[in-house]
């Protein structure tokens, strides 16, 4: 039996796969001690103890966003104590005036030591005694974790290593060295990643220890990381911020498994939940990695993460009318508490979920694994009327249609922006939709992007939890060294050869990515390279793909990702989720885009068998998610209970 657990701010989702049956459990999260909810979920299983537990956690991210982390001391290169506070000389927003930014490490806890390297070699060696004395003063001033972050340590880590060696075992607080946490060759992004790791370290350590304490000796816990890989709790503690995006990464990894299974190498993964929309664009089977992501203003993370873009657009996103009478959705949300107006706890803010309810797209009883919740359509209608429909002078239904199309276009825009940056045409991609609200809006997003095929996994609402069951261990090898691609001196070939050799032997998916820039420019671009390519071939491809003909190209980092073959296949986890207990659901009136109400058949997804098919309009319900099949779409159920939607015309 293997178990996936995803802890969110409101619910802890558990998915259990045993003998080809997928069971789901939802228990309330316990924010005062999340390990308690974790333990409650496992207890609720009451069918023996799981062998393997795959865990996605937002403990680190929440601590960071809510600024509840540790008091971190920073030891840095003389002359550069303010790197975290200086950022990149920017502002929060284009218009409007600004107030101060508080970095994760306050200036009073940021201290300098004499040392320097130029990126190739050490110029001024670090003095271990000075480092020890500075560390000691930081601990005296209350440091709960110490980060050593020196200039150029990604390419020349000698001084950082020497300083860390001096401190490890001398102090009880965790000691981090920036080059071990991020290989970014830009100081602010690497320092920021390091500071974030040190900042969340004590909280994540305590959390993982508390879980460990609650587990049976036979349990084997693995944590999902932001790159979609799995690590042991001890490995997670080494670089705590690696877990920052573990939920979305698990979902994308699950989507990747589905795409492989179905033979779609190019897909768009769309995860729409209560507060946010996460999208990942995959062109060649493997999701791209990025080192460029901000968790907030002045908080970049530069370590390998799946290239997932997030915007504040979810079921709970607030709908407002702008000063010029146009409707806007998000980025603010109501969260699970008080929730949308239809939850009955507030009447001040209309949300996307309220619009969906007014249109009949979702049922007025929300079925969740392990329970249900009555929704109040009158409250939804009243709030939508007051907040949106009346200010722009339309009916509640029209306002709701507008809300739905606005949020769908917003999500499609996000995907379009990613496609522009990647120079990709997404119209031949498959859209894989999941999350509580993903299947609800999938057709709208797909239509806007010209995508014809949509796949919706079973238990779509809990996909982030069970997608993790398909994750596998992943190792990333990265070499930072500068070389010309045009006038190759063999450096690129040497580095690539070393990477290929290290990756050889493992029967795995190996992916090499080269980061490069034009000589004289600091703008970074990335290109996938083949294990047997030479510098000249890469230069030609890069020139063509990025329109750089005539430029001197300088490569500076080769990253190789080795993904072990997953120990479990999709069929092993999910042979067939249809059940014998089929609910008979009443048809209900649903308003579609043209504003006409249609008496729409409602099907229970649990009762559908592979091979079943039909035409829209119809609604397909399952616990935790509702799929809308609009007019003009056909649906069918494929292997492993996958639901497909195809545009007819």
């Amino acid at each position: 039996m293997i178990v996936g657990i995803d802890i969110g701010g409101t619910f802890t989702d558990l998915v259990c796969s045993e003998d080809g049956q997928l069971r789901t459990i939802k228990v309330p999260s316990t924010p005062s001690d999340f390990s308690e909810g974790f333990s409650n979920a496992i207890s609720a299983l009451d069918s023996g103890t799981p062998g393997e537990i795959i865990h996605g956690t937002t403990v680190a991210t929440n601590a960071l966003i809510q600024r509840r982390g540790a008091r971190v001391g920073l030891i840095t290169t003389s002359g550069f104590r303010d790197i975290l506070a200086m950022r990149r000389r920017d502002r929060r927003s284009v218009y409007g005036l600004e107030t101060a930014f508080l970095p994760l490490v306050p200036r009073s806890m940021s201290r300098e030591v004499t040392e320097r390297s130029d990126g190739k070699s050490v110029i001024v060696p670090v003095d271990p005694a000075e480092v020890a004395s500075v560390a000691s003063s930081l601990v005296d001033d209350g440091a709960e974790a110490i980060l050593i972050a020196f200039l150029h340590s990604a390419t020349c880590p000698d001084n950082e290593k020497a300083a860390a060696a001096q401190l490890v075992d001398r102090f009880e607080v965790p000691i981090f060295a920036s080059h071990e946490l991020s290989d970014a060759t830009t100081e602010f992004e690497r320092f920021s990643t390091g500071a974030a790791s040190a900042y969340v370290a004590p909280i994540l350590h305590r959390y993982l220890d508390a879980i460990d304490h609650r587990l049976e000796p036979t349990n084997r816990l693995q944590v999902v990381t932001s790159d979609g890989g799995l690590v042991s709790p001890d490995e997670a503690k080494v670089n705590p911020i690696r877990t920052a995006l573990s939920g979305p990464a698990a979902g994308v990894w699950g989507a990747k498994s589905i795409s492989q299974q179905l033979g779609y190498p190019a897909f768009v993964a769309c995860d729409m939940g209560g507060t946010s929309f996460d999208a990942c664009l995959v062109n060649e089977g493997e999701p791209a990695l990025t080192r460029d992501r901000e968790l907030g203003f002045g908080l970049p993370l530069a370590l390998e993460m799946l290239d997932i873009a997030t915007i504040g657009a979810g079921g709970g996103s607030v709908v407002s009318v702008s000063s010029v009478g146009t409707v806007e959705v998000g980025p603010d949300g109501v969260g699970a508490d008080p929730g949308p107006a239809c939850y009955g706890n507030q009447v001040h803010q209309a949300t996307v979920t309220d619009a969906d309810l007014v249109l009949g797209r979702i049922p007025d009883v929300l079925h969740l694994p392990g329970g249900s919740r009555d929704l109040d359509p009158d409250a939804a209608r009243k709030t939508l009327n007051e907040r949106v429909a009346a200010p722009i002078g339309v009916s509640a239904e029209d306002a709701a249609l507008l809300v739905v199309s606005t949020v769908e276009e917003k999500m499609a825009d996000q995907i379009r922006t990613m496609a522009t940056a990647n120079r990709t045409d997404v119209s031949d991609h498959v859209l894989i939709a999941y999350g509580g609200a993903g299947p609800l809006h999938a057709a709208g997003i797909a239509r806007s992007l010209g995508i014809r095929s949509i796949a919706i996994p079973p238990e779509a609402g809990l996909f982030s939890a069970w997608g993790g069951l398909l994750a596998s261990r992943r190792s990333i090898l990265s070499t930072v060294r500068e070389f010309s691609l045009e006038a190759s001196d063999g450096t690129f070939e040497d580095v690539l050869k070393q990477h290929v050799a290290k990756a050889a032997g493992s029967d795995s998916n190996v992916l090499h990515t080269l980061d490069f820039r034009c000589a004289g420019s600091t703008r970074v671009m990335s290109l996938r390279v083949d294990g047997e390519e030479c510098a000249g071939q890469v230069a030609t491809r890069a020139s063509e793909q990025f329109g750089l003909v005539g430029h001197d190209l300088v490569g500076f980092r080769l990253t190789t990702s080795v993904v072990e073959n997953p120990s479990r296949s999709l069929e092993a986890i999910l042979p067939n989720t249809s059940t014998d207990e089929v609910r008979t659901l009443e048809p209900r009136e649903v308003t579609f885009e043209d504003g006409v109400k249609v008496a729409c058949p409602v099907l229970d997804r649990g009762g559908l068998k592979p091979g079943d098919a039909g035409e829209g309009p119809c609604i397909i319900e399952e616990a935790g998610a509702t799929t809308v099949v609009p007019p003009g779409y056909r649906w069918r159920v494929g292997d492993v209970s996958m639901l497909f939607l195809e545009a007819v015309s």
Partner: protein, 577 residues
């Protein structure tokens, strides 16, 4: 009136198209500075009224697209047009603007426009900075408005120091404009142009009404703010003055009292003055979309012959780097007096430009830093450290990238302690940047606030002035000229250190919370002596952990009862840090 549903739908698509075009430009250009944000895109109707601009567009550049469209929309048989003329269209010669008509069924329904602040356009100074220029011919090639033919673009590239990057930038710019056109035509195909135009007109009208309503927050009266610019010739500082007059139906912004045309590049064309003024209004009323900010109901008066009405052949390369931001700041300051809760003290400046050029023929290079200054404080909190100028939206490069790419070593980059203005909320400190060159080169500098720091608000203190030193021949020295340096020779091993200006403070310094001062002292932003003198809090420990509440109370209340605090000050003098 167009249906509200359709209006909202069309509007969001329109905005998405403009944003998509800008994302396209930034992702395909060659220059880092463009990718990092020195661009703007805007869409106009054929009558010249603005539809919308990019949500990430640089504010000042975006505003300069308005005079640009005024000119291009009259062009006959137009295709894609290009120009960098700063007198007619605002900005500087490095701002390359393009425009293309968007036609449906043979008639022009809209104009797409786009601008990029090119990192180099030839001329005397590298990186678009020509502090020593005395005429526009020294700043680069001026390209009159004309069709963006291959020959014309080639002419631009061949005159730039980095022709390949420039070519890539121009091609990205042109294709972004094409993309915008396709988007709008596609939208018209879906909704019909009549509906789109009706939606635009409706939103324009609502935005203008919204602005008029927001402007009623301005208290009627006359508000004067004065500032001073450094002289281009190391002479007397140049006055900058604005009088904001608010009546029931009109707001007048009058720059009378501002100095005459400068011999150097610290000038801007009238079009730039208008653009920078409107930028100030957009910062104060950020909730109003671009199309609300026409200049209807807003009168801008610029004295003839002033540096804010520069004409051919006056050099104007200081517009984007210094003058536009100073004007915007001045307007924000004036507006801050007239409106409650929206204002802010003055920023330390628009970002000081330091250019180091290597002239070794085997290793030519050009390194351009725009060094941030301290943000002004407001009633909501301290100023933002290392703030980007209110007219820009771009980023500072990584020190490690710079050292890898150019033969320099950065010795220090951080907060310039004790340079922000005192106040209930402090102006942010300026920045200190020290760079050593490792081969012979030349230094050019275009910076300001050497003679006058950023002003505070509501009794907040003034920020420190900018300082520049060069380490050469074994000792630090202040180079000649104030804030303007053209091609000062540097030998390998020489160093350049700039300390930029701090932001102005907000509110009386004695009202600053003790807990904020504790962190100020612990962080080394203030000495204990300054905490006592400027803020009236007497700390008993050098790390700021304990303070003497009795003495603090007495000192702070003396402000109200007596001006005689000499006894305390004597005692404060004995404090050691």
């Amino acid at each position: 009136m167009i249906d509200a549903i359709l209006r909202s739908r069309i509007w969001s698509r329109m905005q998405a198209g403009v944003d998509e075009a800008e994302a396209h430009f930034r992702s395909r250009c060659g220059s880092g500075s463009l990718a990092d944000g020195e661009t703007a895109v805007a869409l106009f109707l054929p009558d010249g009224s603005v539809v919308t601009d990019g949500t990430q567009s640089a504010p000042f550049l975006s505003m300069t697209l308005r005079p640009w469209v005024e000119k291009v929309r009259g062009a006959e048989g137009a295709t894609t047009l290009v120009s960098n003329d700063p007198y007619d269209f605002g900005g500087s010669i490095a701002d390359i603007k393009m425009a293309a008509p968007i036609s449906i069924d043979g008639s022009i329904v809209a104009w797409g426009t786009i601008v990029g602040h090119c990192p180099d356009i030839g001329g005397r100074g590298v990186g678009g900075v020509s502090p020593g220029a005395r005429a526009i011919q020294e700043e680069g090639v001026r390209i009159p408005m004309g069709e963006a033919t291959a020959d014309r673009l080639q002419l631009i590239c061949e005159n730039a120091r980095l022709p390949r990057l420039t070519r890539q930038d121009l091609e990205a710019q042109r294709s972004a404009l094409g993309l915008l056109g396709e988007w709008i035509v596609g939208l018209a195909h879906t909704h019909g142009w009549e509906s789109i135009e009706a939606a635009i007109r409706e939103v324009q009208s609502r935005a203008q009404t919204g602005l008029r309503k927001a402007m009623t927050e301005l208290k009627p009266g006359s508000y004067v703010r004065r500032d001073r610019l450094d002289s281009d010739t190391a002479g007397v500082p140049v006055p900058l003055e604005v009088t904001l007059t608010v009546t029931d139906c009109q707001v007048t912004v009058d720059f009378a009292g501002s100095g005459n045309v400068s011999p150097g590049p610290t000038n801007c064309a009238y079009a730039s003055t208008v653009a920078a003024t409107v930028c100030g209004f957009r910062h104060i009323f950020p909730e109003i979309p671009a199309c609300g900010f026409g200049i209807e109901g807003l009168e801008i008066q610029v004295p003839h012959g002033s540096l804010l009405d520069a004409r051919f052949p006056a050099p104007v390369s200081g517009t984007v780097d210094v003058l536009a931001d100073r004007l915007t700041s001045l307007v924000i300051e004036a507006l801050s007096q007239a409106v409650h809760g929206r204002g802010q003290a003055c920023d330390g400046g628009g970002g000081d430009v330091v250019v180091i050029e290597g002239h070794d023929p085997d290793h030519p290079f050009s390194l351009r830093f725009v060094v941030g200054t301290g943000g002004g404080a407001s009633g909501r909190g301290d100023g933002l450290l290392n703030a980007d100028a209110s007219t820009r939206h771009s980023r500072f490069p990584s020190i490690e990238d710079v050292e890898r790419t150019f033969p320099v070593r950065v010795c220090q980059y951080g907060e310039r302690e004790r340079s922000g203005g005192a106040g209930r909320y402090r102006g942010a400190n300026g920045t200190v940047l020290e760079v050593e060159v490792r081969c012979a080169g030349r230094l050019s500098l275009y910076a300001d606030r050497f003679s006058r720091g950023a002003g505070g608000h509501h009794r907040g203190g003034r920020g420190s002035v900018t300082e520049l030193e060069v380490f050469t021949d074994g000792h630090w020295q202040k180079p000649p000229g104030i804030g303007r340096l053209q091609s000062l020779e540097l030998a390998a091993g020489d160093r350049v250190r700039i300390r930029t200006a701090g932001g102005g403070g907000y509110g009386h310094p004695y009202e600053r919370a003790v807990r904020l001062l504790q962190e100020d002292v612990a962080a080394g932003r203030l000495t204990r002596k300054e905490a006592a003198k400027d803020h009236g809090v007497v700390f008993t420990r050098a790390d700021g952990r304990d303070y003497d509440s009795a003495k603090t109370f007495k000192l702070r209340s003396y402000r109200l009862t007596s001006s005689d605090v000499d006894d305390f000050l004597d005692e404060i003098e004995t404090l050691e840090d």
